[in-house]
Protein backbone atom coordinates (compact mmCIF):
# COMPACT_ATOMS: atom_id res chain seq x y z
CA UNK A 1 0.00 0.00 0.00
CA UNK A 2 1.57 3.32 -1.01
CA UNK A 3 -0.68 5.28 1.27
CA UNK A 4 0.90 4.78 4.68
CA UNK A 5 -1.38 5.52 7.59
CA UNK A 6 -0.57 7.92 10.35
CA UNK A 7 -2.00 7.44 13.84
CA UNK A 8 -5.73 8.11 13.78
CA UNK A 9 -5.93 7.59 10.03
CA UNK A 10 -7.17 3.98 10.42
CA UNK A 11 -10.68 5.37 10.69
CA UNK A 12 -10.90 5.94 6.96
CA UNK A 13 -8.99 2.86 5.82
CA UNK A 14 -10.44 -0.49 4.85
CA UNK A 15 -8.76 -3.58 3.46
CA UNK A 16 -8.93 -2.63 -0.22
CA UNK A 17 -10.04 1.00 -0.17
CA UNK A 18 -9.73 4.22 1.74
CA UNK A 19 -11.94 7.30 1.95
CA UNK A 20 -10.69 10.63 0.67
CA UNK A 21 -11.99 14.11 -0.08
CA UNK A 22 -13.92 14.76 -3.29
CA UNK A 23 -11.35 17.15 -4.71
CA UNK A 24 -11.63 19.07 -7.97
CA UNK A 25 -8.63 17.08 -9.18
CA UNK A 26 -10.44 13.78 -8.61
CA UNK A 27 -13.65 15.04 -10.18
CA UNK A 28 -11.73 16.19 -13.24
CA UNK A 29 -10.05 12.77 -13.51
CA UNK A 30 -13.41 10.96 -13.78
CA UNK A 31 -14.72 10.09 -17.19
CA UNK A 32 -17.35 11.94 -19.19
CA UNK A 33 -18.76 8.76 -20.68
CA UNK A 34 -22.25 7.75 -19.51
CA UNK A 35 -22.21 5.05 -16.84
CA UNK A 36 -23.41 1.60 -17.82
CA UNK A 37 -27.03 0.73 -17.09
CA UNK A 38 -25.91 -1.79 -14.47
CA UNK A 39 -24.01 0.90 -12.56
CA UNK A 40 -26.77 3.47 -12.99
CA UNK A 41 -29.25 0.97 -11.70
CA UNK A 42 -27.12 0.33 -8.62
CA UNK A 43 -26.75 4.05 -7.85
CA UNK A 44 -30.38 4.96 -7.85
CA UNK A 45 -32.72 3.94 -5.05
CA UNK A 46 -35.75 5.01 -7.07
CA UNK A 47 -36.24 8.35 -5.33
CA UNK A 48 -35.46 10.20 -8.55
CA UNK A 49 -36.00 9.19 -12.19
CA UNK A 50 -33.45 7.02 -13.92
CA UNK A 51 -31.46 9.08 -16.47
CA UNK A 52 -28.06 8.94 -18.22
CA UNK A 53 -25.30 10.16 -15.89
CA UNK A 54 -21.52 10.32 -15.98
CA UNK A 55 -19.12 9.42 -13.15
CA UNK A 56 -18.13 13.09 -12.98
CA UNK A 57 -21.75 14.16 -12.45
CA UNK A 58 -22.24 11.59 -9.70
CA UNK A 59 -19.16 12.91 -7.87
CA UNK A 60 -20.27 16.53 -8.33
CA UNK A 61 -23.74 15.72 -6.96
CA UNK A 62 -22.25 13.89 -3.96
CA UNK A 63 -19.98 16.85 -3.21
CA UNK A 64 -22.86 19.32 -3.49
CA UNK A 65 -25.30 17.32 -1.35
CA UNK A 66 -25.85 18.03 2.33
CA UNK A 67 -23.95 15.65 4.57
CA UNK A 68 -20.51 14.04 4.61
CA UNK A 69 -19.16 12.85 1.25
CA UNK A 70 -16.02 10.98 0.25
CA UNK A 71 -14.31 9.40 -2.70
CA UNK A 72 -13.58 5.68 -2.54
CA UNK A 73 -9.93 5.10 -3.57
CA UNK A 74 -8.00 1.89 -3.95
CA UNK A 75 -5.22 1.34 -1.41
CA UNK A 76 -3.00 -0.13 -4.13
CA UNK A 77 -2.83 2.73 -6.65
CA UNK A 78 -5.14 5.47 -5.22
CA UNK A 79 -7.48 5.07 -8.19
CA UNK A 80 -10.92 6.58 -7.50
CA UNK A 81 -13.53 3.87 -8.02
CA UNK A 82 -16.55 5.50 -6.42
CA UNK A 83 -18.09 8.03 -4.10
CA UNK A 84 -20.08 7.54 -0.93
CA UNK A 85 -21.76 9.78 1.57
CA UNK A 86 -23.91 10.11 4.63
CA UNK A 87 -27.09 12.09 4.03
CA UNK A 88 -30.18 12.89 6.09
CA UNK A 89 -27.96 13.16 9.16
CA UNK A 90 -29.73 13.77 12.46
CA UNK A 91 -27.17 14.83 15.04
CA UNK A 92 -29.94 14.75 17.66
CA UNK A 93 -31.02 11.17 16.99
CA UNK A 94 -27.52 10.24 15.77
CA UNK A 95 -28.59 8.51 12.59
CA UNK A 96 -27.61 8.90 8.94
CA UNK A 97 -28.46 7.37 5.61
CA UNK A 98 -25.58 5.78 3.71
CA UNK A 99 -25.30 6.20 -0.07
CA UNK A 100 -22.75 4.19 -2.05
CA UNK A 101 -21.88 4.74 -5.70
CA UNK A 102 -19.29 2.51 -7.35
CA UNK A 103 -18.37 4.20 -10.64
CA UNK A 104 -16.12 1.58 -12.29
CA UNK A 105 -17.89 -1.55 -13.46
CA UNK A 106 -14.86 -3.78 -12.82
CA UNK A 107 -14.95 -2.80 -9.14
CA UNK A 108 -18.69 -3.27 -8.71
CA UNK A 109 -18.23 -6.42 -6.66
CA UNK A 110 -19.32 -7.61 -3.23
CA UNK A 111 -15.87 -7.41 -1.65
CA UNK A 112 -15.33 -3.77 -2.70
CA UNK A 113 -18.88 -2.82 -1.70
CA UNK A 114 -18.58 -4.57 1.67
CA UNK A 115 -15.18 -2.99 2.35
CA UNK A 116 -16.54 0.47 1.47
CA UNK A 117 -19.58 -0.03 3.71
CA UNK A 118 -17.40 -1.33 6.54
CA UNK A 119 -15.07 1.67 6.25
CA UNK A 120 -18.01 4.09 6.20
CA UNK A 121 -19.30 2.43 9.38
CA UNK A 122 -15.90 2.87 10.99
CA UNK A 123 -16.12 6.55 10.19
CA UNK A 124 -19.73 6.77 11.39
CA UNK A 125 -19.13 5.09 14.72
CA UNK A 126 -15.50 5.96 15.55
CA UNK A 127 -15.37 9.50 14.21
CA UNK A 128 -18.87 10.90 13.79
CA UNK A 129 -20.30 9.29 16.96
CA UNK A 130 -23.49 8.13 15.25
CA UNK A 131 -25.80 5.40 16.61
CA UNK A 132 -27.62 4.14 13.56
CA UNK A 133 -26.79 3.86 9.85
CA UNK A 134 -29.40 2.83 7.32
CA UNK A 135 -29.58 2.15 3.60
CA UNK A 136 -32.52 2.13 1.19
CA UNK A 137 -32.15 -0.16 -1.81
CA UNK A 138 -34.34 -1.57 -4.53
CA UNK A 139 -35.26 -5.23 -4.14
CA UNK A 140 -33.23 -6.49 -7.09
CA UNK A 141 -29.91 -4.78 -6.31
CA UNK A 142 -28.47 -8.17 -5.38
CA UNK A 143 -24.79 -7.26 -4.90
CA UNK A 144 -25.52 -4.34 -2.61
CA UNK A 145 -27.89 -6.43 -0.49
CA UNK A 146 -25.31 -9.20 -0.28
CA UNK A 147 -22.64 -6.72 0.84
CA UNK A 148 -24.94 -5.16 3.44
CA UNK A 149 -25.78 -8.56 4.90
CA UNK A 150 -22.12 -9.57 4.91
CA UNK A 151 -21.26 -6.49 6.97
CA UNK A 152 -24.05 -7.24 9.45
CA UNK A 153 -26.97 -5.03 8.46
CA UNK A 154 -30.47 -6.19 9.40
CA UNK A 155 -33.27 -6.08 6.86
CA UNK A 156 -35.81 -3.93 8.69
CA UNK A 157 -38.61 -4.04 6.17
CA UNK A 158 -39.93 -3.81 2.65
CA UNK A 159 -41.81 -0.77 1.32
CA UNK A 160 -44.13 -2.36 -1.22
CA UNK A 161 -44.21 -0.95 -4.76
CA UNK A 162 -42.32 2.17 -3.70
CA UNK A 163 -40.29 2.36 -6.94
CA UNK A 164 -41.34 2.36 -10.59
CA UNK A 165 -38.82 1.06 -13.12
CA UNK A 166 -38.89 -0.95 -16.36
CA UNK A 167 -42.70 -0.89 -16.57
CA UNK A 168 -43.21 -2.39 -13.13
CA UNK A 169 -43.39 -1.42 -9.50
CA UNK A 170 -40.58 -2.68 -7.28
CA UNK A 171 -40.23 -2.86 -3.52
CA UNK A 172 -37.71 -0.75 -1.65
CA UNK A 173 -35.85 -2.45 1.21
CA UNK A 174 -34.60 -0.80 4.37
CA UNK A 175 -31.41 -2.08 5.98
CA UNK A 176 -30.10 -0.79 9.32
CA UNK A 177 -27.21 -1.40 11.69
CA UNK A 178 -26.75 0.02 15.20
CA UNK A 179 -23.41 0.99 16.68
CA UNK A 180 -23.54 -1.75 19.31
CA UNK A 181 -24.30 -4.40 16.69
CA UNK A 182 -21.39 -3.28 14.54
CA UNK A 183 -19.03 -3.16 17.51
CA UNK A 184 -19.98 -6.63 18.77
Amino acid sequence: MDNPMVKGDEVRHGTYIYLDAISKEIIDSLGDAPLSEALLYSLNDGSIPFFPTTAKQVAQLAKAADGLAFTVRLCTDKKCVGVCRFGDISWQSRHARLHISILEESYFAVDILADTIQTMLQFAYWEANLNRIYVYCIEDTRLLRQALEQVGFTNEGRLRQEVYRDKRYLDKLIYGILCREWSA
Binding site: S90, R132, Y134, G157, R160, Y164
Partner: protein, 185 residues
Protein backbone atom coordinates in the same frame (compact mmCIF):
# COMPACT_ATOMS: atom_id res chain seq x y z
CA UNK B 1 -70.75 21.64 -3.22
CA UNK B 2 -67.88 19.28 -4.00
CA UNK B 3 -67.44 16.51 -1.47
CA UNK B 4 -63.84 15.72 -2.39
CA UNK B 5 -62.67 17.59 0.68
CA UNK B 6 -65.70 17.02 2.89
CA UNK B 7 -66.98 14.18 5.05
CA UNK B 8 -69.75 13.80 7.60
CA UNK B 9 -68.35 16.17 10.24
CA UNK B 10 -65.27 17.87 8.77
CA UNK B 11 -63.90 19.56 5.69
CA UNK B 12 -60.41 20.42 4.49
CA UNK B 13 -59.23 23.91 3.53
CA UNK B 14 -55.88 25.63 3.00
CA UNK B 15 -54.09 26.77 6.16
CA UNK B 16 -54.53 30.55 6.17
CA UNK B 17 -52.56 33.26 7.93
CA UNK B 18 -55.48 33.58 10.39
CA UNK B 19 -54.79 29.96 11.44
CA UNK B 20 -51.13 30.58 12.19
CA UNK B 21 -51.38 31.67 15.87
CA UNK B 22 -53.21 28.44 16.69
CA UNK B 23 -50.89 26.41 14.46
CA UNK B 24 -47.79 27.92 16.12
CA UNK B 25 -49.22 27.09 19.56
CA UNK B 26 -49.68 23.44 18.53
CA UNK B 27 -46.15 23.30 17.13
CA UNK B 28 -44.90 24.56 20.49
CA UNK B 29 -46.81 21.92 22.46
CA UNK B 30 -44.08 19.34 23.05
CA UNK B 31 -46.51 16.70 24.36
CA UNK B 32 -48.40 16.90 21.09
CA UNK B 33 -45.25 17.10 18.97
CA UNK B 34 -43.88 13.92 20.59
CA UNK B 35 -46.70 12.05 18.83
CA UNK B 36 -46.49 13.62 15.40
CA UNK B 37 -43.01 15.03 14.90
CA UNK B 38 -40.16 12.50 14.96
CA UNK B 39 -37.44 15.14 14.77
CA UNK B 40 -36.32 17.72 17.26
CA UNK B 41 -39.15 19.85 18.65
CA UNK B 42 -38.53 23.59 18.63
CA UNK B 43 -41.07 26.19 19.82
CA UNK B 44 -42.44 28.19 16.88
CA UNK B 45 -43.99 31.61 16.59
CA UNK B 46 -46.15 33.20 13.89
CA UNK B 47 -43.33 35.42 12.58
CA UNK B 48 -41.18 32.36 12.02
CA UNK B 49 -43.98 30.59 10.14
CA UNK B 50 -44.47 33.68 7.94
CA UNK B 51 -40.75 33.88 7.13
CA UNK B 52 -40.43 33.03 3.40
CA UNK B 53 -37.39 30.86 4.20
CA UNK B 54 -39.15 28.82 6.91
CA UNK B 55 -39.89 25.10 6.50
CA UNK B 56 -43.61 25.95 6.63
CA UNK B 57 -43.52 28.39 3.71
CA UNK B 58 -41.27 25.98 1.77
CA UNK B 59 -43.80 23.20 2.29
CA UNK B 60 -46.66 25.46 1.19
CA UNK B 61 -44.81 26.25 -2.06
CA UNK B 62 -43.48 22.75 -2.69
CA UNK B 63 -44.97 20.67 -5.48
CA UNK B 64 -44.29 17.63 -3.29
CA UNK B 65 -46.62 18.78 -0.49
CA UNK B 66 -50.31 19.46 -0.06
CA UNK B 67 -51.20 20.76 3.39
CA UNK B 68 -54.74 21.21 4.67
CA UNK B 69 -56.47 22.60 7.73
CA UNK B 70 -59.13 20.30 9.20
CA UNK B 71 -62.27 22.22 10.20
CA UNK B 72 -65.56 21.14 11.69
CA UNK B 73 -68.59 21.50 9.42
CA UNK B 74 -70.87 22.40 12.29
CA UNK B 75 -69.04 25.44 13.67
CA UNK B 76 -65.94 25.89 11.47
CA UNK B 77 -63.44 25.18 14.23
CA UNK B 78 -59.81 24.60 13.19
CA UNK B 79 -59.10 21.25 14.89
CA UNK B 80 -55.89 20.08 13.22
CA UNK B 81 -53.95 19.65 10.04
CA UNK B 82 -53.25 16.92 7.54
CA UNK B 83 -51.75 16.52 4.13
CA UNK B 84 -49.56 14.80 1.63
CA UNK B 85 -45.77 15.06 1.61
CA UNK B 86 -42.97 13.55 -0.46
CA UNK B 87 -45.24 13.28 -3.45
CA UNK B 88 -43.41 11.21 -6.08
CA UNK B 89 -45.36 11.61 -9.29
CA UNK B 90 -43.31 9.19 -11.39
CA UNK B 91 -43.56 6.37 -8.84
CA UNK B 92 -47.12 7.48 -8.01
CA UNK B 93 -46.48 7.37 -4.29
CA UNK B 94 -46.77 9.79 -1.40
CA UNK B 95 -46.71 9.95 2.38
CA UNK B 96 -49.57 11.29 4.41
CA UNK B 97 -49.63 12.91 7.78
CA UNK B 98 -52.34 13.93 10.21
CA UNK B 99 -52.59 15.77 13.49
CA UNK B 100 -55.84 16.26 15.38
CA UNK B 101 -54.27 18.89 17.58
CA UNK B 102 -57.31 20.42 19.29
CA UNK B 103 -57.59 18.48 22.59
CA UNK B 104 -61.41 18.46 22.63
CA UNK B 105 -61.57 16.65 19.29
CA UNK B 106 -59.07 13.85 19.93
CA UNK B 107 -60.24 10.26 20.31
CA UNK B 108 -63.60 10.96 18.66
CA UNK B 109 -63.03 9.62 15.16
CA UNK B 110 -62.11 12.91 13.51
CA UNK B 111 -58.66 11.55 12.67
CA UNK B 112 -60.12 8.58 10.80
CA UNK B 113 -62.46 10.88 8.84
CA UNK B 114 -59.60 13.16 7.84
CA UNK B 115 -57.37 10.21 6.92
CA UNK B 116 -59.99 8.79 4.57
CA UNK B 117 -60.39 12.20 2.90
CA UNK B 118 -56.63 12.53 2.32
CA UNK B 119 -56.30 8.92 1.14
CA UNK B 120 -59.22 9.43 -1.26
CA UNK B 121 -57.61 12.63 -2.54
CA UNK B 122 -54.36 10.72 -3.10
CA UNK B 123 -55.84 7.71 -4.87
CA UNK B 124 -58.76 9.30 -6.71
CA UNK B 125 -57.45 12.78 -7.57
CA UNK B 126 -53.65 12.41 -7.67
CA UNK B 127 -53.86 8.90 -9.15
CA UNK B 128 -51.41 7.45 -6.63
CA UNK B 129 -50.54 3.76 -6.54
CA UNK B 130 -49.27 3.81 -2.98
CA UNK B 131 -49.81 5.88 0.15
CA UNK B 132 -47.53 5.47 3.15
CA UNK B 133 -46.89 7.01 6.53
CA UNK B 134 -44.44 6.94 9.40
CA UNK B 135 -45.44 6.54 13.02
CA UNK B 136 -43.47 6.24 16.25
CA UNK B 137 -43.61 2.72 17.68
CA UNK B 138 -45.00 3.92 21.03
CA UNK B 139 -48.03 5.60 19.42
CA UNK B 140 -50.14 2.47 19.63
CA UNK B 141 -53.45 4.29 19.33
CA UNK B 142 -52.41 5.76 15.98
CA UNK B 143 -51.04 2.40 14.77
CA UNK B 144 -54.36 0.72 15.56
CA UNK B 145 -56.22 3.44 13.66
CA UNK B 146 -53.99 3.10 10.60
CA UNK B 147 -54.38 -0.69 10.59
CA UNK B 148 -58.14 -0.30 10.86
CA UNK B 149 -58.02 2.02 7.83
CA UNK B 150 -56.18 -0.63 5.79
CA UNK B 151 -52.49 0.25 6.24
CA UNK B 152 -49.99 -2.56 6.75
CA UNK B 153 -46.82 -2.33 8.81
CA UNK B 154 -43.99 -2.70 6.27
CA UNK B 155 -40.87 -1.82 8.23
CA UNK B 156 -39.55 -1.09 11.70
CA UNK B 157 -36.58 1.26 11.62
CA UNK B 158 -34.86 0.55 14.91
CA UNK B 159 -33.73 3.36 17.22
CA UNK B 160 -34.51 5.94 14.55
CA UNK B 161 -35.38 8.79 16.91
CA UNK B 162 -34.30 10.07 20.28
CA UNK B 163 -36.61 11.82 22.71
CA UNK B 164 -36.55 12.25 26.46
CA UNK B 165 -33.40 10.17 26.92
CA UNK B 166 -34.57 7.15 24.91
CA UNK B 167 -34.26 5.87 21.36
CA UNK B 168 -37.53 4.88 19.65
CA UNK B 169 -38.30 2.77 16.62
CA UNK B 170 -40.19 4.21 13.67
CA UNK B 171 -42.74 2.12 11.82
CA UNK B 172 -43.40 2.53 8.10
CA UNK B 173 -46.93 1.64 7.01
CA UNK B 174 -48.40 1.52 3.54
CA UNK B 175 -51.55 0.87 1.54
CA UNK B 176 -51.67 0.14 -2.20
CA UNK B 177 -54.29 1.26 -4.68
CA UNK B 178 -55.69 -2.25 -5.16
CA UNK B 179 -56.10 -2.60 -1.39
CA UNK B 180 -57.78 0.81 -1.21
CA UNK B 181 -60.22 -0.22 -3.94
CA UNK B 182 -61.18 -3.41 -2.10
CA UNK B 183 -61.90 -1.53 1.12
CA UNK B 184 -63.27 1.79 -0.14
CA UNK B 185 -64.13 1.23 -3.80
Amino acid sequence: MSTIFQSERIYLTPITNDDLPQFAAWLSDFGLQRLVNPGMSVPQDVEELLNPDSWFQSDLKSEKCRMFAIRTLKDNIFIGECGIVNLNMFAHSAEIGINIAHPEYRGKGYGAEAMVLVMRYGFEQLNLNRVSLHVMSFNTRAIRLYEKLGFQVEAREREMFFHDGTYFDQLSMGILRNEWEVIYG
